[in-house]
Structures are given as C-alpha cells and as structure tokens.
Amino acid sequence: MTETVRRSGDRVVLRYERVLHHPVEEVWAAITDPDRINAWWGTRPEIDLRVGGDYVSHHATGDRVVDRIVRLEPPHVFAHTFWQHVNPDALVTYELQPIDEGTLLVLMHEMTENDLRNAAASMHWDGDIYDLMSRTAAGWPRLLTALNSSF
C-alpha cells in the first residue's frame, strides 16, 4: 500500500495504491453494488449506475448526501463527486487494473485547497491539544516527504 499527496495549482490529490488478491470483476462489484458497499462501508447507498446518475449516501448523522457519477467504465474506472454540496470540486476516482496478483486498486481523492479548508472547518478539532501537537511533531516529516515527492 502506498499513499501520496500531490499538489497541482490549487488542486490536491490524495492517491492510494493497494494490491487486492481478487479479480477485477470482484472488486468492481464490491465498489459499485449497494449491498456489497454496505458490507464494508457500513451504509447502503442508492446508486443509479450510469454517467450523470445519482450516488446517494446516508450517514449516521442522518445526512442524506446526493452525489453524481462522473465516470463509469466497467470494470476499470468509477468516479463520483464527494459531498458535492459542500465541496463542489471534489472527486473520488477508483481505477482497477488487472495484475498477476489480482487487482491493483488506485483510489484518488481530488479536491481544491478551498475544499480542504471547508472540510477542516467542518471537523471539530477539539481533541487534546498536546496530543495533537505530539502527533504532529512526529507526523510532519512523513507528510513533508509525501509532499516533497509529489512536486
């Protein structure tokens, strides 16, 4: 599993690569079939599986979030907006590539810096400040390395 942070202009991309020991078709079903998504995500979305179709997710807080499917190339590419009403420019893309071991899953969460700021503002950073600082002091070199490698 690798994680990178890329920045291009005002856009930030979080990119995850993961090798899954399962065929591409099996992974595709797990990320596009509502019952299968329910089994690992913990909520059952309503999905109108076509480009431009709605991806409606329900959250524990009672929020009903309507997103839109942007790319659909079974069984390789699935992309949808992410909390469109809050982050209009955010996009989540799953790319599935067949490899000898099964599937290489590349997940990209792309957003603008403004989306990131909105997200940070909507989270409640009310944890213990000393815990936060110690975590940060330990974490920043890793983050800097990730940022460094991405420019």
């Binding site: 994680e3 020991h21 399962h22 099996e26 899953l105 997200a119 940070a120 936060l132 983050l143 800097l144």
Partner: protein, 101 residues
C-alpha cells in the same frame, strides 16, 4: 500565504530539509544550499510568517529551527482524509477476503 503555498517553493523545502533535526544560522544555510544570503533571508522570513520555522538568538547568533505549529495546519487538513480512506480501504480488503474464503 497559507502553509501549502509556502511549502510548494523548492528552495523553502530545501531549507526545511536542512533544518530537520538541527538548528542552523543563516550563514550555515547559505553554505549548505549554495544560494545567496538575501535569498535565504527572504525565504526564512516567509517560513517564519507561516510559523513553519522559528528562531532564537544564542550568543549573538540567530539560529533557525523547525516550528511544528505551521505544519499542524497542513497535517490536519490532509491527515483527516488520509485516515478516512486508509480505514475504508482496509474494510474493503477485509470484505473481499471474507467472501473468497
């Protein structure tokens, strides 16, 4: 300038790398980076304004060091999303493994 923009500059990233784990004077940074002193001072000012670097005077020499405060801004933004997806992908993988057993 926000922390993302500040860190985006390659010279400033090199200064931050130089300051990892040790304090440095302007003169030492000039020597290590091979960049002239006014340029290093200009970048240090930007880094200080963003609270990525702090300084203290010791024996009449000003020494610069990493300041974690500015990095917290970047870390908080990114880490929340990083953990979100890392956790979800763990769950997806476990789900697939369970089904294939």
């Amino acid at each position: 300038m926000d922390a993302f923009t500040v860190v985006a500059d390659p010279t400033r990233r090199r200064i931050l790398e130089e300051l990892r784990g040790r304090e440095r004077t302007v003169g030492e940074l000039v020597g290590a980076l091979g960049v002239n002193q006014p340029t290093v001072s200009k970048h240090l000012r930007v880094l200080r304004d963003a609270r990525l670097v702090s300084s203290a005077v010791d024996a009449q020499r000003r020494r610069y060091r990493i300041d974690a405060d500015g990095f917290r801004e970047i870390e908080e933004w990114v880490d929340a999303f990083r953990r979100l997806w890392a956790t979800r992908l763990d769950a997806l993988e476990a789900h697939l493994d369970r089904r294939s057993r």
